[in-house]
């Protein structure tokens, strides 16, 4: 696996990102002090429950937050250049050209009234100086690359003439049109049949490896993350709870929330009478507790957790926002907290 070396100059840097929604009932903080890097060619998985802020992070990076959402603080840098405060027209030229995006539902991501060829050539010609014929040739090439059979014929078909899996392939082709350096894939397989999901993930992984494209893969499916990602960020209530190499996070979680999340995933080959679950639910954005957002549900909660918010602290090979690591980077074995029979606070 190339590229994913930790000391490579980061492609994307997100620094202390804060996203707010001004509503009639006051300001909601959807993303609070989120920082992470993505190296060229690296696949960063972003996991978390619904409402943890995964998608909003992705949307904020491509500058498509819908009002009343807005970036209220922090910086987003692409190859060292700030992109969060660019004028709309400058940002538009980055979207699709340097940062591509794939959204959840392939059935609704394509405009039903235009052929896929039209949508492909339109995107290609927006970003690359190509004639209509060149753009069309490139579009056919892309369709072949994403595994659409008979692309010369299929290019003139409308989205409704494709199945869900095929449509997501078209969407991937659209995201890859101008060979972007980064693709933000927001739940790219969630709307698809399980049998198709693996194909799409394999395809995405292969294409990005071949083109050296980095991916920010937003999903709640740990299986997909384990298969695909180099590193993974676990989000909780708009913050990053833990970020680290994927195997490390899965097998040796350093944040009690990550440990709970991993323990709640059913695995084949393990006879378990009951899956463990984390008591309670993620706080709503207007009721995030002081200190660590996870403290009301945490089995290891102690005094400091309820008063002071932990920042990301070194924890083994990962970073975890947990006061358990305040004393130094001693890896903890948190797995037993969630094993059967463990007494929860």
């Amino acid at each position: 696996m190339p590229a994913a070396t930790p000391d490579a100059k980061p492609l994307l840097q997100v620094k202390n990102l804060r996203v707010e929604f001004n509503t009639r009932r006051g300001t909601l903080v959807a993303i609070d002090d989120v920082s992470f890097d993505i190296a060229p060619g690296e696949v960063l998985g972003v996991v978390g429950e619904s409402g943890a802020g995964k998608s909003i992070t992705g949307t904020a990076i491509i500058g498509l937050l819908e009002p009343p959402g807005r970036i209220a603080g922090g910086e987003i840098l692409l190859e060292g250049m700030r992109i969060d405060n660019l004028p709309a027209e400058e940002m538009r030229k980055i979207r699709g050209r340097r940062i591509g995006a794939i959204f959840q539902d392939p059935l609704t991501s394509l405009n039903p009234l235009y052929t896929i060829g039209h949508q492909l050539t339109e995107t290609i010609q927006t970003h690359l100086a190509m004639s209509m014929a060149q753009a069309r040739a490139r579009a056919i090439e892309l369709l072949a690359e994403v595994g659409i059979p008979a692309p010369e014929r299929r290019i003139d078909h409308y989205p409704h003439q494709f199945s869900g899996g095929m449509r997501q392939r078209v969407v991937i082709a659209l995201a890859l049109c101008a060979n972007p350096q980064l693709i933000i894939a927001d739940e790219p397989t969630t709307a698809l049949d399980v049998s198709i999901q693996a194909q799409i993930i394999t395809l995405l992984k292969r294409l990005c490896r071949d083109n050296g494209t980095a991916v920010m893969l937003v999903t709640h499916d740990m299986g997909v993350i384990a298969e695909t990602a180099d590193r993974v960020a676990v989000m909780y209530a708009g913050r990053i709870a833990e970020i680290g190499p994927v195997q490390e996070v899965i097998h040796n979680p350093q944040h009690p929330y990550t440990a709970g999340l991993m323990a709640s995933i059913p695995a084949l080959g393990h006879e378990v009478e009951r899956l463990s679950q984390i008591e309670g639910s993620m706080p709503r954005l207007n009721a995030i507790p002081t200190g660590c957002a996870f403290n009301p549900r945490c089995p290891r909660v102690f005094g400091r957790c309820t008063v002071e918010r932990p920042s990301l602290l070194p924890a083994g090979k990962s970073l975890a926002a947990c006061w358990l690591h305040a004393e130094g980077s001693v890896p903890l074995d948190l797995n037993k907290d969630w094993s059967e029979g463990a007494v929860h606070a």
Binding site: N111, P112, E122, T123, A175
Partner: protein
């Protein structure tokens, strides 16, 4: 596609037969035409002879079939008021009404669509709010009142435009047009604005609502994520998706404009079919009323057919051949 058109044509024929039945039954509501046509001192024998000559002694359905047969050939009898063939009268009046309706519909589209798009894109600007408020006035003010206001301002106070009539017309074959003369165009302005006011407000509000809906869809978000220009997203992708309902409403509006030009034509003394109809009602001129009813029915049927076919042009999902597609 062909099966669809045939089905629609058949439905249209059925509608026209029903309209014809209603038009035909008008004749029976205003008493015995024989006693109207003959002098009071006519004998019973005269009446019977007249009745036979007119075919009124035949059973109802025979009379109806005769009526439909004549109507299909454009023969609606003689106007009781003007003593001339109804079909000739209608052909004379049709261009005036169609030109007025066409101009009003164009105003509706050319003003309604851009304003609708603008108010959807600049949702919160004060210009949008002002336009929306004005459109409310347009929806609620009765047509004739707008016409009278316009006459008062532009014809009476300012004296810029004529307050009634059609101005000079030029005859091209059977068609007399007011588009080619200065006075004809000047005369057209006020009635066309009056008649077009409601469609403008309706189309604008419809386009706005549809645009707002479409702008929230995933494919618009994805189009933006692909880096397409605002222009391409708003007009290429969003506007086209709003067109299907707009075509429907505009089509129906066009029928409505032609049918309800009656009021505008009366206010402006516009020599069209509507004015002819109003005068016919005052004189109980049944043949004219029946013919007008049939003609308006026909216009609606034709417009609906055209609208349905336009869907096929706009929306590929409808024209997809069955089978051979990837399925879902």
């Amino acid at each position: 596609m062909i099966a669809f058109v045939l089905r629609r044509l058949l439905q249209g024929v059925i509608v026209m037969l029903v309209v014809g039945l209603i038009a035909f039954s008008l004749f029976n509501f205003v008493g015995d035409p024989v006693s109207l046509m003959l002098p009071p001192e006519a004998t019973q024998a005269d009446r019977d002879a007249m009745r036979q000559a007119l075919g009124l002694d035949k059973p109802f359905y025979v009379q109806f079939v005769t009526f439909i047969g004549n109507a299909v050939q454009g023969n609606f009898g003689i106007s009781l008021r003007l003593g001339r063939p109804v079909s000739t009268l209608l052909v004379e009046r049709l261009p005036a009404t169609l030109e007025l309706a066409f101009t009003a519909a164009m105003i509706g589209l050319l003003v309604g669509i851009p304003v609708g798009v603008y108010t959807a894109l600049k949702r919160d600007s004060w210009v949008s709010r002002a336009l929306l408020t004005t459109s409310l006035v347009g929806v609620s003010l009765p047509n004739f009142l707008i016409g009278i206001f316009l006459i008062l301002i532009f014809a009476v106070w300012l004296g810029w435009l004529p307050s009634f009539g059609r101005g000079d017309t030029v005859k091209i074959g059977l068609w007399s047009t007011g588009f080619l003369t200065k006075s004809g165009l000047k005369s057209l302005i006020l009635p066309a604005i009056t008649l077009g006011f409601f469609p403008v407000t309706l189309i604008m509000r419809l386009v706005r609502a549809e645009m707002l809906e479409v702008l929230r869809t995933d494919y618009i978000k994805f189009a933006r994520a692909r880096g397409l220009s605002d222009r391409a997203v708003n007009f290429g992708h969003a506007l086209k998706n709003t067109l299907v309902p707009v075509i429907t409403i505009t089509g129906l509006q066009l029928g409505g404009i032609i049918a309800f030009a009656i009021i505008t034509e009366t206010v402006f003394q516009w020599p069209g079919m509507g004015l002819l109809f109003v005068q016919a009602v005052q004189f109980a001129d049944i043949p004219v009323m029946a013919a007008y009813l049939c003609l308006i029915g026909l216009i609606f049927v034709v417009i609906n057919l055209v609208v349905d076919m336009l869907y096929y042009l706009v929306d590929p999902r409808l024209r997809a051949e069955r089978g051979g597609s990837g399925g879902h």
